[in-house]
Subunit: 205 residues, 4 copies
């Protein structure tokens, strides 16, 4: 339960910082801090596709993975409700409307691939055992990604970041362009799967 | 006495950087440096609600806690006087006047909760014993918080940061909207208490 | 082969972040992350003149050095094609047209000298064995260099960063001012050679 | 001789980054890198008032201290000549002309005090022996100081940063407001002396 609550808290604050600041520097360093806060307890996934990668790598079992993802989505949804209270308008992760579907999907795919590949290396590769830079490596990947493809895809790299605000809109009862959600499912899931396979077959024999 | 002087110095420079730069990057990295400067001597609280959290966790006794908070407030007050000398106008931490009382309090509550929860983890959780990232974890939490809720509450997360400038105005004799002060007492104290309880009951059994 | 693929991936994402963000903060922290991702596998060169420096220092053999450089150029070229797909226009590293040839070459020379000198120290000097800051030292050198001489030379410090986009233009069939390329060969190669000699004769006896 | 050349190189690049970028982020992270590059060889002073502090603490002898300062000034002067070549105009560290003499001196005094106090702690305090954050602590102090008092004093905190450009103007033959120089001697020297005394009598018994 303790781990699930850390996943809830970490995802809550990640989405809060994204929604309030909309600033890659704040998001990247904020995620760095959240990783240092929670990695020693829950592993600090805060992202369903990270949990899926760890599930494939057998670093987490199916039961825990289910509850990790559930609490990530609960954290993100609760965060979106807090954001509505703090700012008075609804949060929505959305792409640049002048970018094509393929450009948006490729952006999410590429930087989620990098994010999960970096996480697997700094979190479980034996060469980096005991390293102290894991929080920065993870947070700064998201920072670089947000600077790079933020203007194309909105830079979620994380289904929970999109699912939470979408669910919150159902609760609040305001309209939201729900059809953006699938970008942040398909792109990140594909990126995470390729990263995990690359890690298994290329990096760590 | 040595510890008290470090608390005085650290809070003095923290308030100086806040008042002079008004920039989350400078404040976050400045606090990082001040933590690395003083944590090995006094623990580098520089914040009454951090001292209260350590008091509850019995990491500091009541006598020392009293003098820590006293020297933090003295440092902040002296800093506000230096600021008046350097810039010629009075410093005031104030919220966005178009935000509601509840939005302001919630902002201070949320990020002080995060700040104290992060500090307790990086400073005293046995899993992170001997870590070298504690200064960054603390400074970057304030950076992310300042980017996130600075436009709502002014982003103090620290009663001393508000008390010092308020006291300095009594000394200087200029008017100040004293009624903002309570935001930076109620929000941070509540956030710190919940973080300490969460740490005790959820994280560390 | 594993090492070559890491060089491919690292250079690909480095060029992607440069081309998409055009922002020294994103580039510096992005390179930091890529170094932490790959240094424990391939050494994380991502730059032909770094590979040349390690070849001179006999940290890599000629056979591997050849394939490192080949895969760096392949990664950069593939990255430039992805950039064309994502943004719809061709990427080109180019200098400030009002700067003189000597100013451009000196800019690339100076900061590639610093980059390679820093890399040799943090990667192979015995005094810094086991340090955890190598990724930051390398990434932040490029960040400081990009802030400093970006407005003069375009701040490549890396032949692959220029070769890849140039090759991609042949593939795409669009015109590019190919004659800029030699700046990013001559300046960085000269800087790297002087840094390697300085390291051998001055620093490490 | 090796140590002197590292002091020459480090001060050269520090002044180059200051003069070219005029950006606290580039300066702070650039200094971080230069410290990680040279601290394991020469101690990475790059600043006469740091050398004076280490001389008082008997970490360096008088003979070496003289040559450290000489090579710092040579590095800074050579850097200012490179800057003249790269940009075509003369570099000058100068204060805000609407600030008073006392405001300028106090600004340089305060942040040089902090800089030297931080350096003494991270470099020689036994509690922090073997720490890996020394480069960040030093670089980020200058970053926070440049953000804070850059608009008042110009933020040198280092006599070499002012002496070098002044000497370079004699060589180039262009006019420069030489009378600013004394600010960057008096403020930093006083700040360094107080920091050293504070360290000796307050921190380390």
């Amino acid at each position: 339960m303790r781990n699930y609550l850390i996943e809830f808290l970490g995802t809550l604050f990640l989405v809060l910082i994204i929604g309030l600041s909309n600033n890659p520097v704040a998001i990247g360093f904020g995620l760095t801090v959240l990783v240092y806060m929670g990695a020693h307890i829950s592993g600090a996934h805060y992202n369903p596709v990270v949990t899926i990668a760890f599930l494939i790598k057998k670093e987490i079992n199916l039961y825990d993975a289910f509850f990790y993802i559930l609490f990530q989505i609960l954290g993100s949804t609760f965060s979106a409700l807090i954001l509505f209270f703090l700012k008075g308008d609804v949060m929505e992760i959305m792409p640049n409307l002048s970018s094509s579907v393929f450009q948006i999907l490729a952006s999410e795919f590429l930087f989620t691939f990098l994010l999960v590949f970096v996480i697997l290396n700094v979190a479980i590769h034996p060469n980096l055992k005991g390293n102290s830079f894991y929080g920065f490596a993870i947070g700064l990947t998201v920072m670089a990604g947000a600077f790079s493809v933020g203007p194309i895809s909105g830079a979620a790299f994380n289904p929970a970041v999109s699912i939470g605000p979408t669910l919150s809109h159902f609760i609040i009862g305001e309209g939201i362009s729900k059809y953006y959600l699938w970008y942040y499912l398909v792109g990140p899931i594909a990126g995470s799967l390729l990263a995990t396979l690359s890690f298994i077959y290329l990096v760590k024999r």
